[in-house]
Symmetry: C2
């Protein structure tokens, strides 16, 4: 008998029929003798409907009351799922965040989990009940309702699995696992049976929207065995996110992430002296603009060029800030470019294999794709290219690193 935490997102519970399907899947695990805790999101569309109501009153609604409002979305789902489970003859009990209680800080709309009391859930499990928990919500020390921010239901699932020392946390979603890259771009993309936490972190933060990054961090911190599965298929083992780095079974590169949500800004002819990077980025941070990649080259003739990327929607604002900075520091020119894309290869294997970067750059060059920026970490290499080349770059790298072949083909690839 195992204790399994399952998390279902909004699409998986988007209608009464789908809620019934979830109940039937839970019943299967229950019939195998497992204890099951189910974490659910609001039915798809519900959170947006509620936020729209709030925005009719005020474009910037009060955060405490916004949490009171949107937490009802998950509360509706837990009640309906518990009913559906009972309709199948199972015992079930729903829990809101405060009923657990799942304690958070008081940062409304983006609260962080502080403590989970497992006693009420444990009592229900011992009583043979399926425990149905509202994701995304908690309660602060003053009994105010809080929410964990969008996508927080993944985090709830992982946190409950940690608190209950569950055997596995299963995240059900509309894909059947983590792929080497997006199958819509590369038809040969292959589902990974396993991926390491570090790789998953890089992939999540790079725009593969399978899992919320905070939930992955949480799983890593508390050593929760995490599995991504499809809620629309009955078969399949999904992708297991592991802590082990068994290099005998691990390919050098596990996946390729990409996005075109960013814009590149460059400030040219910056006087090359200490502290200049801070002078440029401080006003950007003050304007609440998040910066992703940052590249500064060695200076030539006492000046240097400084580039960074921001979210595409914030390019205009960033340009305005930079133009003021330009005057202040005596730089020559500011240029912005929103026709860029970021492509990243990720894999713990590259730690021990030289030549991954040069292989990547050569492959792109062979397709005449110019690299505008490069940024690396221990298990990741990201490049910025002109956005029209993004798909070609992804397909090329997928092929060059043999991702369609799986771990067995590693020797040939290396």
């Amino acid at each position: 008998m195992a204790l399994i935490v399952q998390k279902y997102g909004g699409t998986s519970v988007g209608s009464i029929e789908r809620i019934r399907n979830v109940a039937e899947r839970v019943a299967k695990f229950k019939m195998l003798g497992h204890q099951v805790v189910v974490v659910v999101s609001a039915m798809s569309g519900e959170t947006n409907r509620l936020i729209a109501l709030a925005k009719e009153i005020n474009k910037d609604p009060d955060p405490r009351e916004l949490d009171v409002l949107i937490s009802t979305g998950e509360q509706v789902t837990i009640a309906l799922l518990a009913m559906a489970l009972k309709d199948l003859g199972l015992k079930a009990k729903s829990f809101t965040g405060w009923q657990i209680p799942l304690r958070t800080d008081n940062a409304f709309t983006k609260a962080r989990i502080e403590e989970i009391d497992d006693r009420a859930m444990r009592a229900a499990l011992d009583n043979g009940q399926v425990v149905v928990v509202a994701g995304f919500q908690g309660v602060d020390a003053d009994n105010n309702i809080t929410t964990l921010g969008r996508g927080g239901s993944d985090t709830t699932g992982v946190a409950l699995a940690a608190a209950l020392t569950a055997d596995e946390c299963q995240i059900y979603t509309d894909v059947d696992g983590v792929y080497t890259t997006d199958p819509r771009v590369v038809p040969e993309a292959r589902k990974l049976d396993t991926i390491t936490f570090e790789e998953m972190l890089e992939l999540a933060s790079l725009g593969s929207k399978v899992l919320q990054i905070r939930s992955v961090e949480f799983a890593g911190k508390y050593k929760v065995k995490l599995r991504v599965l499809s809620s629309f298929e009955d078969e399949g083992e999904g992708t297991l996110i592991t802590f082990e780095e068994d290099s005998m079974e691990q390919a050098i590169i596990s996946g390729i992430a990409f996005n075109r949500d960013e814009a590149k800004l460059t400030i040219l002819g910056v006087p090359d002296k200490p502290g200049v990077a801070g002078h440029i980025l401080a006003p950007i941070a003050d304007a609440n603009i998040d910066v992703d990649m940052i590249v500064q080259n060695v200076g030539v003739d006492g000046t240097t060029d400084f580039s960074f990327t921001v979210n595409r929607g914030e390019m205009k604002k960033a340009m305005e800030v930079l133009n003021m900075v330009k005057t202040a520091i005596g730089a020559r020119e500011v240029v912005g470019d929103d026709r860029i894309a970021k492509v990243s290869i990720v894999g713990v294997g590259m730690r021990t294999h030289a030549g991954v970067a040069s292989k990547m750059f050569k492959a792109l060059a062979a397709e005449n794709i110019n690299i505008q920026m490069i940024s690396t970490s221990e298990i990741k290499i990201s490049v910025v290219v002109e956005d029209k080349y993004m798909e070609l770059a992804v397909r090329t790298l997928h092929q060059v690193f043999g991702l369609e072949n799986g771990p067995d083909a590693k020797a040939a690839v290396a």
Copy 2:
């Protein structure tokens, strides 16, 4: 400075615009220096929408989970109203049932209030905040969410007023007060400035749907000053429900109630011996059929006829039960009639004035309206007539008792 509890029903908060109107009315009271507690229902249609979702899963949904589900309706409204109040520059704080906490027993979907902790609300009021409370909901001793049953928001309002010893509990609705009878039937119907609790109880239980009967009982028990007002008009004092019976200002008859929701059943030729009424009604009660009026005449020739009324929808079931009873007790025949209506005159004045009944019966006879059944209490006389005469009976009685003229015309009426 007074402490005022205001309750707004589903129609009064049925859209964002109407929620804004409620906020503006609350602001007026606040500006006058009063402390205000606002109790709200779910937006009109929302409770039915949620129940329909539950019934898609199971026609008879689990009651605990049904309460988890439908309590979200009021939670949405408190959040939106608190936002609207803050949008007007007021301080406000929403409270769900468990956040107060408002303790109830564990009878899901029809829970009864056991205890209200006034400390959290009091702290918010002392802090200058408008307290916005979700009506209709509470929490039991095991932290399960409960609801008070349909219309329970009135009861929440009165109970909070009692717990906070408020100066007045104002029930805002879509009518501007309690009328002598339904203005749609008698255009001359007059709004009452005051009505006694006993009269209000009789009117509420007789089908005037202005106030939920449980809330009136509650107000009487805890001596809460209750006022019914329109949420769609800015002027008007509504109707105050008083404890005083000042006969100098009180008309003999305060109002006329009526309904055609009932059916009449008669069992003919019942052997006239002790215990026979019990033999007839016990199986009806066992079948969970509520009985309203009961009439048994003195027997003739050793047999008697026994009549009673039930909800119209239960006539068929009651007939089946009675036909079995007939055989068991040796009665002659069972007849049912669903083309009936009940008309009642209500007024504390009839206690001390003889001749009210005869005046009523004469007036109906003058219009050739045959009385099928009569039932009386200290402050009420109900008659059953053929349903096609209902409106005529109500109009006739309204005129005969001078209800359109108000208390001043009392002498002439008596």
